[in-house]
């Protein structure tokens, strides 16, 4: 009897375990899916077919998955940029730490980020690696840090005790390399004198543009003219923001004019910015519009006026019918940038551009052509038929007299730079990657909350500027995404408190 009971109990226990185990697994999966603890980690090491984390794409910028014969590690090699990876998660999370393990034998600047908006396509990049800073951290004196901003000073340069003191007294002759330093440098132009009269931008511009100007004892004044070309469906609101340094001080909005039929161009609408009593200094206009909007007129009372980042003039045959008053003419721009990037957006805009008289052939639509300017003064970019997007890391003027450099000695580091080119380095929120032999690991914290995207299907990006031109490669061996949100209990408590 005892023997039978033992057997029976043993069998019951075994069956009980077999029955309970899947239930426990199910409960654990349920808690994970609900992100009960607030955390979810997804990792991809490129050894198997991708599931929740995709491979890097597009395929013309990366290789297929490869395996290192020596250490049997799988990886994808990146030879173009930017490249993207999609990650699917079951819940919407608020933050994510993106950890990339990679080999980078020689490319100086690599950034990683998140696609913060898919229409228009906007990527928010963060530092991943900057070898110029990594070298300076070894060779130069101790860094000076203020919050997340760090200043590195060459041993033979004048030394400053704080970042603020440095920014107040940047030596005019110094060269300051910046990396993710977005706070604008407020350079007082001691020789500036206001002038009467108006300055008119002689070209029609397409889409979002940024301008900078300088005022002293005068009102900040600019009048814009906009035409909605309605080449694509949908509304096209217009926003002009005015910044003093990195502080937004004024905003003007124009809603869509209501004409939304495709191909039906609207009449020109004016927008005036007039601000009095502002202190001396640099002010920036950010014109935030879609590529359906043409800036047909821009008149300012300031005589120092430049465009920053990118300029796209459209006084071309392609836009002749779309915007009234547009007639084909050549564009002449002046820039202080050490290089220009030229992009012909359509086959019809392919042409030969001249940079300081040197011919630059644009042979392929949409392809960025990089041209080093190699001049200490202003470079002249001449686009015979317009409709070419010109990008720089400096500023453009439309006439010699209107040029000024709002950033002074500060300029973003480029892949052509070496540490010896700089007296100071100024950067934000960067620490060098951890090294394990040739493998580097860097974690980039990113915020998802508030982004206008599907937070269950997130796209991450990696850029290594001009990696294709430099013929460098990055081997990515592992990506780890650690998603975080508030713990379920905390969310529940917050909701209950909110209800009460």
């Amino acid at each position: 009897m005892m023997h039978t009971m033992t057997k029976l109990d043993g069998m019951r226990v075994a069956k009980g375990i077999i029955f309970v185990f899947p239930v426990a697994v199910f409960l654990s999966l349920l808690l994970q899916y609900m992100a009960w603890s607030g955390d979810l980690a997804l990792e991809y090491d490129f050894s198997k077919e991708p599931t929740f984390v995709s491979e890097w794409y597009p395929s013309d910028r990366v290789t297929d998955r490869l395996t290192n014969e020596r250490n049997h590690r799988s990886f994808q090699e990146i030879h173009g940029e930017p490249v993207y990876v999609d990650v699917e998660v079951p819940r919407a999370f608020e933050w994510v730490d993106m950890t990339v393990t990679y080999r980078n034998p020689e490319h100086p600047i690599v950034n990683a980020g998140i696609v913060a908006n898919k229409n228009p396509w906007t990527v928010e990049y963060h530092p991943l690696q900057n070898t110029i800073i990594d070298e300076a951290l070894i060779e130069w004196d101790e860094p000076v840090t203020e919050g997340l901003t760090t200043l590195l000073q060459a041993s033979d340069a004048e030394q400053f005790e704080s970042v603020d003191t440095f920014l107040e007294q940047v030596p005019d002759s110094a060269t300051v390399g910046t990396y993710f330093y977005n706070r604008r440098y407020e350079r007082i132009q001691s020789d500036y004198k206001k002038q009467s009269g108006e300055l008119e931008v002689p070209y029609t511009l397409l889409g979002t543009h940024e301008f900078a100007t300088y005022i002293k004892d005068e009102p900040l004044h600019a009048e814009f003219g906009f035409v909605d070309m309605n080449q694509t469906a949908g509304t096209d609101p217009i926003k002009v923001e005015v910044f003093d340094g990195d502080v937004l001080i004024h905003e003007e909005l124009l809603d869509d004019d209501g004409v939304t039929g495709v191909g039906e161009s609207s009449a020109e609408r004016k927008l005036l910015v007039h601000l009095e009593g502002l202190p001396e200094g640099v002010y920036r206009y950010n014109v935030v519009v879609s590529d359906d909007i043409a800036i047909t007129a821009l008149t300012t009372q300031q005589h120092k006026f430049v465009a920053g980042g990118a300029v796209h003039t459209i006084d071309s045959k392609r836009y002749q019918g779309a915007v009234s008053g547009v007639a084909p003419k050549a564009t002449r721009l002046l820039t202080n940038s050490p290089f220009v990037d030229l992009v012909a957006p359509e086959p019809g805009s392919l042409q030969t551009v001249r940079v300081n008289g040197e011919r630059v052939e644009l042979r392929s639509a949409g392809k960025r052509v990089h041209q080093v300017t190699n001049t200490s003064g202003l470079s002249v970019v001449r686009i015979p038929e317009s409709d070419v997007q010109v990008l720089t890391q400096g500023f453009f003027a439309f006439t010699e007299e209107s040029f000024f450099d709002p950033d002074g000695p500060l300029r973003p580091m480029t892949i052509e730079d070496e540490l010896a080119d700089f007296d100071y380095l100024l950067y934000h929120d960067y620490t060098p990657p951890r090294a394990d032999g040739n493998r580097l690991t860097q974690t980039v914290p990113l915020t998802l909350a508030g982004l206008p995207i599907d937070r269950k299907n997130v796209t991450f990006a990696l850029e290594a500027p001009y990696i294709d031109d430099a013929q460098h490669v990055l081997g990515v061996e592992n990506v780890l995404f650690q998603f975080q949100r508030q713990q379920f209990v905390d969310r529940l408590m917050q909701r209950i408190k909110g209800e009460l």
């Binding site: 057997k7 043993g10 899947p22 199910f26 929740f52 998660v89």
Partner: protein
């Protein structure tokens, strides 16, 4: 003295059958859940391996049943 739990052929067969049925039930649940909530199961468990485990148990159960007749 309490005798240790021992397992004979019929009990082994019963245990295999029971395990097979439990796993088959949970595989169906898992596949349905995965169809409705993608990632619910496959975030942690490889469904293909799960299916192979069920098939192997099914075969084992079939073999032990046939052998015992």
């Amino acid at each position: 003295m309490k005798k240790p739990f021992t397992i004979d052929a019929p009990r082994f067969q019963e245990l295999i059958t029971f395990t097979f049925r439990v796993l088959l039930f949970w595989y169906i649940i898992a596949a349905l859940l995965e169809a409705v909530l993608p990632g619910f199961v496959t975030l942690s468990i490889d469904l293909d391996l799960f299916l192979w485990a069920v098939i192997l148990l099914g075969v084992l159960q079939f073999v032990t049943n046939t052998y015992s007749r």
